[in-house]
């Protein structure tokens, strides 16, 4: 029967197209993974210090704060939003946490536990509060995410400086620094371990849960989500709150590493985090993205930041290199995507 043959042909063609699309996703994951590998190999040839424990500790702690911001940003970008405020919120949350410790527990001793817990909780809560405000204004106020988070970027920066006249706050219990600089087996700093656990958890959250499915669907077609009777505003609120909370956690880890809450920390991290997510294959138009991709994207940026220093490139070139990789990654992705479509 002629009709049947065309149907079977159509089915076959569709399966082939689906395979191609899935292959495309795999290829792009492999591609950015390959870029990371190439950078690692290149830098280790260029500098004998690259593949050392000292550089691993340096790179991984640099990566930690960008990673946590990038993980939160992954959810935001997958929902077709953007969160420009995360870096500033990190700075504010860390300063707020330090301020709470310094003000509520002045002169807390070296083994102080409670002041540290309260201070950390305050930092995470400060981040979460900014996320809540972002989410509320975007979901219920109907203000575009770009505008809202650009506004809260300014507000968080200002609040951070207001807390101590623009100065960092270092009158915090020494146990904070002890916590931040503990290494497990000499290779795994506690902050890196914490970030890794949170990242894995968030990866599963995006890929395997209803929350993750709605995050992607909201970004793909908000209309479809509304028609399905889903209260998308509630999910947007959660997405931006998650992003704020993760900025708060990142603030704690930065504070623990540096031994102070500084309003200026994280100032450029928001752009690095967004770059990491986009390099990792998320679509700025929403509906597509993965935490695994963002981890690789963060890795590329972190390796660039420390590697260029080791091969004696002036540090200002780092920003140039990250920007160029960002544009290149998106360009190649679009090129491949167009190819898949036209096939």
């Amino acid at each position: 029967m002629a009709g049947l043959t065309t149907e079977q042909d159509a089915d076959r063609e569709q399966s082939a197209r689906a395979l191609l699309r899935r292959g495309h996703a795999l290829v792009r994951d492999l591609w950015i993974g390959g870029v990371l590998l190439a950078l690692v190999i290149g830098f280790s040839i260029g500098s004998p210090y690259f593949l050392t424990r000292a550089n691993w500790l340096n790179t991984s702690s640099t990566a930690t704060e960008v990673l946590l911001l990038a993980v939160g940003e992954t959810f935001v970008i997958c929902s077709a939003g953007i969160d420009l405020s995360v870096g500033a919120v990190l700075g504010f949350a860390g300063t707020a946490g330090a301020w709470v410790m310094a003000t509520a527990f002045p002169g807390a001793g070296g083994a102080a536990t409670w002041p540290v817990i309260v201070g950390f909780a305050a930092a995470v809560a400060a981040g979460g509060a900014f996320g809540l405000v972002n989410g509320f204004l975007i979901a219920w106020g109907g203000i575009p995410p770009f505008v809202v988070t650009l506004g809260t970027l300014g507000i968080a920066t200002g609040f951070g400086y207001l807390l101590n006249n623009g100065q960092e706050i270092s009158a915090i219990p020494p146990s904070v620094v002890t916590f931040g600089n503990t290494n497990l087996g000499g290779w795994v700093p506690v902050p890196v371990l914490i970030a890794a656990v949170i990242t894995i958890w968030c990866g599963l959250l995006l890929a395997k849960t209803r929350f993750g499915a709605y995050t992607l669907s909201i970004g793909d077609s908000r209309e479809a989500v509304i028609r399905a009777g889903i209260n998308y505003r509630r999910y947007l609120l959660r997405i931006y709150t998650l992003s704020g909370l993760l900025a708060g956690v990142a603030a704690v880890l930065v504070m623990a590493r540096l031994g102070a809450g500084s309003p200026a920390s994280g100032a450029t991290d928001n752009l690095n985090a967004i770059a990491a997510v986009v390099i990792g294959g998320a679509s700025l138009f929403g509906g597509r993205g993965s935490v695994v991709g963002s981890v690789i994207g963060t890795g590329i940026i972190a390796v660039m930041l420390t590697g260029l220093v080791l091969i004696n490139v002036p540090p200002f070139w780092q920003e140039v290199a990250v920007g160029a990789i960002l544009i290149l990654a998106v360009y190649i992705d679009q090129l491949r995507y167009r190819k898949t479509r036209s096939n």
Binding site: Q14, R21, L216, S221, R227
Partner: protein
Amino acid sequence: MSPRLAVRDLAKHYGGVQALRGVSLHVEAGEVLGLVGDNGAGKSTLLKVLSGATAPSSGLVLLDGQPAAFASPAAAHDAGVATVYQDLALAGQRDVVANFFLGREKLAGGWLARRVGWLDGKAMAAHTVGELARLRTRIPDVRVASRDLSGGQRQALAIARAAAWTSKVLLLDEPTSALGVEQQQQVLDLIRRVRDEGIAVLLVSHQMPDVLRVCDRAVVLRLGLVAATLAGSDLNSENLVGYITGAMAGEER
């Protein structure tokens, strides 16, 4: 017995514009009712009222004889009235399973899984395959992104999804308008199968051949009023066109 869905003297005006001027009609369970009319006849407005997207100015919507005022599309959906609009409301980059279950995801068993909303991906895929097969919808791979489906398959997915989650009434807005001949045929077959499951189907269409092929009765709207209700041998293209254009005088009630 009261009909599955009925509207009584439904009127809707936007400012001074009378979109509906007192429309009454009904659809029985297991029946396809065609709703035809020229542009501006009131089809879209009626559809919006029935799907809960807008509130009528006056008149009643009755579901199984009970007054039903849908405050929102979600409320209509919960009451068992599902709508498939022309744009289908599919998420293009999400796969068939994700679209099929959108808003009704199946969670894995266990307390922790429920707390975190862990999806039971396997069960969802199996259920989707089963439902699509039951309605004999030809979608070979449920992990395909919905934008990679053909137009007919997308329409079929949207209808199958609506039919699977609704128990009573399915409202279809121009389901065949953008399709090729063969795919139109498949969608019409699907509409018949949905009807045979006992669902009341209201089909809004400009395509007279479709109305003639699949509808048990047809209501012609003209200028916000019912111009005619056609069934049996009266349901032919001459009558349809006549009442739609106003060449034939309506019963106008």
